[in-house]
């Protein structure tokens, strides 16, 4: 037991030494409190024995005892092994230490030896330096002298070298050499020998500069030579401004002025190739020389670029102005409207080439001026097209006139081909408009460079093409039509009535369809965006309709007046008092009916029939008999009664109050019946007025009766309201009776017989 406790103590000390105890304890802490734990620190052999004795049987105790003995033995052997191992290690450690002690001693000796050697080396080195010092100084001095001498040699040789360079025209080398020497010479110029050299050099360099300038001035040399010259001269402190000027003057003479070409494209081409490209070349080389120089430190060069750029701008502007004026003059000569593509292509090329200038010389006014020119040309072009359209229109009208005159000469009925003429006229005008639009459209084609300028996108389409070309043309058509109404009859009166009729129909067609078609076409082709207010289709249509109305009114008036004239002459030139008893209808009445019929045919060719008021299918006879009977009752009878002149007046006045007022020169509608009604109204009214200015005998009255009956028979079918004809003819006969010295009317049956015979 004692052994085990001692062993345990040793164990604990080792444990302590290796720092293991703490861990072991913490693990075993819980159990080790148990005094019966044989491995625990609080083991109490007494308690343990007591416990064993109390608890175990003998057998068990025996087993326990043998087991314990076994354990004690194994523990003993373990301990012996450990002790032995530790001992061995300790012995080897002692050996190592002893060996180290010996080695250190040897090293110390060697170190001492090294120290002494080093000291010896130092001494030697100091001695060598001391000896070499003198020689080194001398060598340095000698090499300095050598350099100087070489420089001096260079200087002395400089004049000769420069001369040689001059001879060989190696100007660049000469300038470089001189530049190298210049400062030195400047510095030592107080010494006579150097002064001499400097003077020589100056003289040579002056000569050189002279030569360079000469070369520069002479021109003919390539741009590269030229730039070299300039470069050298600049290095020679030649004033840059003067050089710029000279360069530009030189360039000015170089830039060829474009000559007048045969056609515009060729002209522009030549202008571009000769002028614009040489201008570009000049600009480029100039910029290389003066503007884009690598910044040199020299202060004198600092403000060269600004100056140079300013000069260049002025130069380019002045040249371009000359060029532009030439181009513009040429464009103005371009008057023929046949082929627009040539002009557009020329303008495009012109514009495109100027873009190159814009790229080379940003901020220059030249390209924008070029665009201006293009815009002006386009405007001018539109004007020319308008003029061309107008003259085309007038020419077509002349053609129509001739065509109208021709069949008359041939003897066929007047205005035979009116519908054909109308359709060919309107088709040719429309075609011409389309052609012009197509031509003008070239200005806005995608591949044209200037087509994306704002002017060509907006104003050109809306104001230029739509307003000043198309709208103005339509207005012109209306206006020229109106002019036919205003002056023709009074002054010369040469407008054939058929033309009036045809134009009226043309204007009416314009109003109904053509105008909106043309404008839609224009808008579609040009994608017109209406920035500014434009003339509305309705306004134009209104104008066209007004023109059509005016023309038709005028037509009615002209035709009416022609017939009126006939009637008036026939009434005025006859002696109505001393006329013979009527046997025939007067020829003039037949003529009136014939003319009216031919007018009816003519109008029918172009205008629709129109509506008749209460159009009856009755023969003229029946209506006529009504008319004549009413006339006899209400008009004649009272007026014969000599005792009652007042009644006549009263009757007719009262009658008038209830009858509709007839507007003789009232506007007509766009149909045949209305037109014919207008013409007949005018004619009959004139007849009436003429009758009222004459005095009639008995047979005069009877002749008028016959004439009126004849007119009645044939005219009623032309008018919208046959009562109108009745009424007017009634009035004519009534007035004749009133102006008759011996009013004895003819028998109605006799009248009818005469009329039917005639």
């Amino acid at each position: 037991m004692a052994v085990s406790s001692r062993k345990r103590r040793v164990h604990g000390m080792l444990k302590l030494y290796y720092g293991l105890n703490e861990e072991g304890k913490t693990v075993d802490q819980a159990e080790s409190l148990d005094p019966c734990d044989i491995n625990g620190p609080h083991f109490d052999p007494e308690v343990y024995l007591n416990k064993l004795r109390r608890e175990c049987s003998l057998g068990e105790l025996m087993d326990q005892e043998s087991c314990m003995v076994k354990q004690i033995r194994s523990l003993d052997s373990d301990m012996q092994t450990l002790v032995y191992e530790n001992y061995n290690k300790f012995i080897s450690a002692t050996d190592t230490i002893r060996k180290m002690k010996n080695d250190f001693k040897k090293m110390e000796d060697e170190m001492d030896c090294l120290t002494t050697n080093m000291a010896a080396i130092t001494v030697f080195s100091a001695r060598i330096s001391g000896t070499l010092q003198d020689q080194h100084a001398q060598i340095t001095k000698l090499s300095g002298v050598h350099t100087l001498l070489r420089k001096l040699q260079f200087l002395f040789e400089l004049p000769a070298r420069l001369n040689k360079c001059l001879e060989l025209q190696a100007y660049a080398q000469a300038v470089t050499s001189h530049r190298r020497a210049r400062c030195v010479l400047q510095q030592y110029s107080h010494m006579p020998s150097f002064r001499g050299i400097q003077d020589d050099c100056h003289a040579i360099m002056d000569k050189l500069a002279q030569e360079l300038r000469q070369k520069f001035r002479d021109g003919g040399s390539s741009a590269k030579d030229l730039s070299e010259c300039v470069e050298l001269l600049l290095q020679l402190d030649e004033p840059a401004e003067e050089l710029c000027d000279k360069f530009l003057t030189h360039a000015r003479s170089l830039s060829a002025t474009p000559t007048a070409g045969t056609d515009i494209l060729e002209f522009i081409d030549r202008g571009c190739n000769e002028f614009v490209s040489s201008l570009c070349l000049v600009i480029a080389s100039y910029q290389e020389l003066f503007v884009n120089r690598p910044q040199e430190s020299n202060l004198a060069y600092k403000n060269i670029p600004q100056m140079a750029v300013g000069k260049l701008h002025a130069f380019v502007d002045s040249l371009a102005a000359r060029y532009f004026s030439l181009v513009e003059r040429r464009i103005q000569e371009e008057k023929s409207v046949g082929d627009n593509s040539l002009l557009v292509r020329a303008l495009d090329r012109f514009h495109r080439r100027l873009q190159a200038v814009a790229k080379l010389l940003p901020g220059s006014a030249v390209p924008s001026q070029g665009t201006e020119i293009v815009v002006r040309a386009a405007r001018e072009r539109v004007k020319q097209y308008l003029a061309a359209l107008q003259s085309f229109y007038l020419d077509s009208l002349t053609d129509v006139r001739q065509a109208l005159a021709a069949p008359r000469l041939g003897g066929s009925s007047a205005g035979g081909g009116l519908p054909e003429l109308l359709s060919s006229l309107s088709a040719s005008i429309l075609n011409q408009i389309k052609t012009v639009l197509a031509s003008v459209h070239l200005f806005t084609a995608k591949d044209i460079t200037f087509s994306n300028k704002p002017y060509f996108k907006g104003e050109f389409c809306s104001q230029g093409v739509r307003e000043s070309l198309v709208v103005n043309f339509i207005k012109f058509v209306c206006q020229s039509s109106r002019q036919f109404c205003e002056s023709a009859v009074d002054r010369g009166g040469s407008t054939p009535p058929a033309l009036l009729l045809l134009l009226s129909r043309l204007c009416l067609d314009y109003e109904t369809s053509t105008i909106s078609y043309i404008l839609t076409l224009t808008d579609e082709q040009f994608l017109v965006q209406h920035h500014s207010p434009v003339t509305a289709v309705t306004a134009l249509c209104g104008e066209a309709r007004e023109a059509a109305q005016k023309l038709l009114n005028h037509y009615v008036k002209v035709q009416g007046l022609i017939i009126s004239q006939m009637l008036r002459k026939s009434v005025e030139t006859r002696d109505w008092v001393n006329t013979i008893e009527p046997r025939n209808v007067r020829a003039v009445m037949k003529r009136v009916v014939e003319d009216t019929t031919s007018i009816d045919v003519q109008v029918g060719l172009l205008y629709e029939e129109g509506v008749r008021k209460a159009h009856s299918s009755d023969s003229s006879k029946r209506t006529f008999s009504v008319y004549s009977s009413s006339r006899q009752q209400s008009r004649y009878t009272p007026s014969y009664t000599p005792s009652a002149p007042m009644d006549t007046n009263l009757m007719s006045n009262i009658h008038k109050l209830f009858s509709e007022r007839i507007d003789i020169f009232s506007p007509v509608e766009f149909n045949k019946v209305s037109v014919l009604t207008g013409i007949i109204k005018i004619s009959l009214k004139t007849f009436l007025e003429c009758v009222r200015l004459r005095t009639f005998g008995r047979y005069g009255l009877q002749q008028i009766q016959v004439d009126c009956h004849y007119l009645q028979m044939y005219l009623w079918r032309f008018v919208s309201d046959e009562n109108l004809v009745h009424f007017l003819l009634d009035e004519i006969v009534g007035s004749t009776a009133h102006r008759c010295l011996d009013p004895a009317p003819m028998e109605q049956s006799v009248i009818e017989v005469i009329c039917e015979r005639g």
């Binding site: 009074d490 007046n649 007719s652 020169f665 009214k685 007025e689 005095t695 009035e731 007035s735 009133h738």
Partner: protein
Amino acid sequence: MEDDAPVIYGLEFQARALTSQTAESDAIRFLVGTQSLKFDNQIHIIDFDDENNIISKSVLQHEAGEIWHISASPADKAVLTTCYNITSESRVVTSSAVWRMPPEWESGSHESPDDPHNSHNPQSLDLLCHLDNSAHGNASCVLWEPMGDGKRVISLADNHALLWDLTESSTQATISSSATLEGKGQLKFTSGKWSPHHNCTQLATANDTAIRGWDLRTMKQIYCIENAHGQLVRDLDFNPNKQYYLASCGDDCKVKFWDVRNISEPVKTLEEHSHWWVSVAHLRDTHTHTYTHTVTSKINGNLDNDNQKHGCLR
């Protein structure tokens, strides 16, 4: 005056001739000549009272024939001229004569216009002299020298313009000079006006579609507006305030104003009317208004008179 209702005066016969009496300075007076083939024609003297807006009339007999033109002497308010038709032996001839109104007409018969059939015989005009133009054709109008002393008249007969000198009492007329229109066809003056400007040395006449100006000192044509109207020119008148301005009207339903110094184009053209213009005149007191009248679609000439007078009064 514009607020007042128009004054209407009715005649029993048709009438075409009307003039205002410029020699009468106290009253607004018009003379109207009637046209009737079957009855004795009359001259109506119509006074207009512009304060009360009423009219009064007198009637004188004009037995010679139907009156186509009438004009009053600018000097003597009792003297007037007429152009009239005489129908004899189945011939119709237009003559012209100078007449004097009987002195007592004013004191005598002031009748109300409502009673046109006066029971007692109206007085007749006294014939002073015939403007004997049988050699020259039918007279179309007689013009007094404007603002003159009533001694000179011009008559237009067919294609002749005759300048007459009247004696003091107007009882005798002699032709002092004449002009003749020459050309193809039957040319005939339709109307004329004696210009009040240039010392009354100018005359303007209308024939067919042309307007001509004449210098009375030489009786030569000084200007001619060919085709002044598309159809017959019916009447013309000088602007009383603008010496070169002339108005004309005609069968083409237009009224045109001309500057005779530049006759290529009219100064202005009116196209308001729907049928013939037969007369045009400038108002004497304002130079801006022109009145015109026309035969409208009326059988009765009386209404023409109304139109005319209405125009005057406005």
